[in-house]
């Protein structure tokens, strides 16, 4: 599907867009915090169906994009040890560290592998008892149950040549940081459906009340997103600030209790640095003391790496907070592309910069162009 008119429910999409136009009387800015939703919005040109007074900004919803540089540098340093097999999800390997990405390390001879599941990494550890298998664990609440289970199973099966470099992040504290910023433009949030499938949505109630901001749990399909936007604007127009659930097909208020329990067995909440945003209190997960023997940071205690400097030109931090759009960056599409990214949002297909690069449509001297990538072809 290149454009929304190829979507099989296009008539339903048009009806929902009309409903949004009917109820919108003022300027509103909404943020989604889910890379999958960002991908859908930009790829299908959803913004163009909305009234001009409604602006969608894209929050820090891509775990690859917010993983700090120092974590990637540490993963690279561990990967370069001869006894190590370092595994992670595919997108993680391309993210530039301060000098090398994990792919660069692989090219230098490091044993770096892409896995589909953290259990694949655990299997590799069982199959290679003379090697150290390290899994670089990134992700939001959706991915935490999988990574928690891998550690729990490693402990149960006594697979002690398995360890995890944990850089897990949590969505609600990032939302609070964005809302607390004096530059905040966000008036309503679309909460990520699959995060809420695990966590439920009760933790959004205090945020909605404290900041008087509507939060609508939303799926990732075009029609889901439009319905979520419609529900958020209906709240804004009537002065309400509540937590509502658009994605009732998959999300229950309490979420998946079994998954939550395993996560809190294995992990505990900690402060975490977010690339482009900085440190946020109580915004990440780390291994509990009882599982510290599986902590790759303790097993491979390199010298304390300095927080490396980001490219001076890259405005990823402002993009991730919804303050700037990707194409407002002077390097966008020229000195920063998916082939030679300056910042992480240009790397992952769920990053806002890469999504705009591949699919974003905007006027260029009065001529609409399909995308930066398309305009080049």
């Amino acid at each position: 599907m290149k454009f929304l008119d190829e979507y099989r429910d296009f008539s339903a999409v048009q009806k929902m867009a009309q409903a949004i136009r009917r109820i919108t009387t003022r300027h509103w800015t909404l943020m989604e915090v889910c890379g999958g939703q960002t991908h859908t919005i930009v790829k299908t040109g959803l913004q163009e169906l909305l009234p001009e007074t409604v602006t969608l900004v894209h929050g820090p919803g891509c775990p690859v994009c917010v993983t700090p540089l120092v974590t990637i540098d540490r993963a690279v340093a561990i990967a370069l040890r001869p006894e190590v097999i370092l595994c992670s999800f595919g997108d993680m390997l391309r993210v530039p560290g301060s000098t090398l990405s994990l792919f660069d390390a692989k090219a230098l001879g490091a044993d770096v592998r892409i896995v589909y599941s953290p259990l694949d990494a655990l299997n590799l550890a069982r199959a290679n008892p003379n090697r150290e298998v390290v899994f670089l664990a990134v992700g939001f609440e959706t991915t935490a149950p999988a990574n928690a289970m891998a550690v729990w199973e490693a402990n149960r099966q006594k697979v002690f040549n398995f360890s995890m470099l944990v850089s897990h992040v949590l969505v609600p504290p990032a939302m609070e940081t964005i809302l607390s910023s004096p530059d905040c433009r966000v008036q309503a949030f679309l909460a990520a459906g699959h995060v809420c499938m695990v966590m439920g949505f009760e933790e959004y109630l205090p945020i909605s009340q404290k900041y008087r901001v509507p939060v609508v749990v939303t799926g990732f399909e075009p029609l889901d997103l439009l319905e979520g936007i419609q529900m958020a604007i209906a709240q804004l127009e009537s002065g309400r600030a509540e937590v509502e659930n658009q994605y009732v097909r998959a999300v229950r208020r309490p979420g998946n209790r079994a998954a939550q329990e395993r996560v809190s067995d294995v992990f505990e909440v900690t402060r975490r640095s977010w690339r482009g945003i900085g440190e946020i209190p109580a915004s990440g997960l780390r291994l509990r003391e009882a599982y510290s023997r599986f902590d790759a940071e303790l097993r491979f205690p390199g010298r304390l790496l300095q927080e490396a400097e980001e490219s001076r030109e890259c405005i990823a931090g402002l993009v991730l907070q919804g303050i700037r759009k990707p194409y407002e960056c002077p390097a966008f599409g020229t000195r920063c592309t998916p082939d030679i990214p300056l910042g992480a949002p240009m790397v992952s297909s769920e990053g806002a910069c890469a999504a705009y690069f591949h699919f974003g449509r905007r006027e260029n001297n009065g001529n609409p162009i399909v995308s930066i990538a398309g305009a080049r072809n």
Partner: protein, 86 residues
């Protein structure tokens, strides 16, 4: 990378070596082993939403079809092709 992909459980192995309960799940032709510990209610023939090898919710067939088609249209099924690179 937080998307969950729907598939149909074709068989279940209790007490597998990875996870207490594992299922073979069919994603429109691609079959994978999936941990079912977080969906103890899931049975053979059920549709589950799967994220990085773990079923996180049971959904009905119509929803599973709808989500799979949406993911296909949005080119978001690549993670199914990823397996351990040797």
């Amino acid at each position: 990378m937080c998307l969950a992909i729907p598939g149909k459980i074709v068989s279940i192995v209790e007490d597998g070596h990875l996870g207490l309960r594992r299922g073979r799940v069919d994603f429109s032709g691609i079959r994978k082993d999936v941990c079912l510990d977080y969906t103890p209610e899931a049975r053979v023939g059920d549709y589950v939403l799967v994220h990085v090898g773990f079923a996180l919710a049971v959904v009905d067939e119509a929803e599973a079809y709808r989500v799979f088609e949406a993911l296909r249209e949005l080119d978001q099924l690549d993670e199914l092709k990823e397996s351990v690179t040797q």
